[in-house]
Subunit: 104 residues, 2 copies
Amino acid sequence: MHNLLSSLPENLDEEVFESIHEARHVRIERIISRGHTSPEQGWYDQDEHEWVVVLEGAGTVRFEEGREVHLEKGDHLVIPAHARHRVSWTDPERVTVWLAIFYH
Amino acid sequence: MHNLLSSLPENLDEEVFESIHEARHVRIERIISRGHTSPEQGWYDQDEHEWVVVLEGAGTVRFEEGREVHLEKGDHLVIPAHARHRVSWTDPERVTVWLAIFYH
C-alpha cells in the first residue's frame, strides 16, 4: 500500500492489521478499527515493544495495571513488551488508523 | 511532545528535527519543514535504514542515482542505509510534518 490513509479496506467487520514494512529489528503495521475493541477477551501480552500513533480517528488503550490512555489524531504512546493491555474503545462513527512500530 | 501534529515549533527558519523515542535498535524522529531542502549541499549518507511517512504537507526525496519520489500526506518510503539522497522540495505554503523511523 502506497498511502497509509487511502486504500482503506472495505470490510471492517473485524479490525484489520496490515504489514507495511519489516526488517530484522523493526516491524511497521497499519491497524484499522471502527468501533472495535481488541482483543475480544483478555489482554495483549507482546514480546516486542510497541510505539503507536493515531493517524486518523481516536482510540483508548487500557493497561491491566489500571492506566487508561485516550489517543486522538497525532497522539502517540509506548507500550513496553509484556505490559498487558487492550484497546478498550475506538470511535464507532469513523475509521481509526493506527501506525504501530514493533521493536526489540 | 504528546502530539505529533500540534506543538509545532514557532521558528521555522531552519528545518527542525526532534527525537520522539529512542531504543536500542530504533529511533523515531519528527521533522518539520516549510519550503526547506536539505542538506543544503551534497547528500545524506546514513548508516541506518530509514522508513519515512509524510503526516502533513508534501515533499520530494531525490536519490543520487536519479530516482525522485514525491510524497503527499500518508505516503511512505524506505531509504536504505547509504542510499545517498536529499529532500529536493517541500511545500513552501504550509508546514510539512515527516515521521521518520531509523533502524539497523
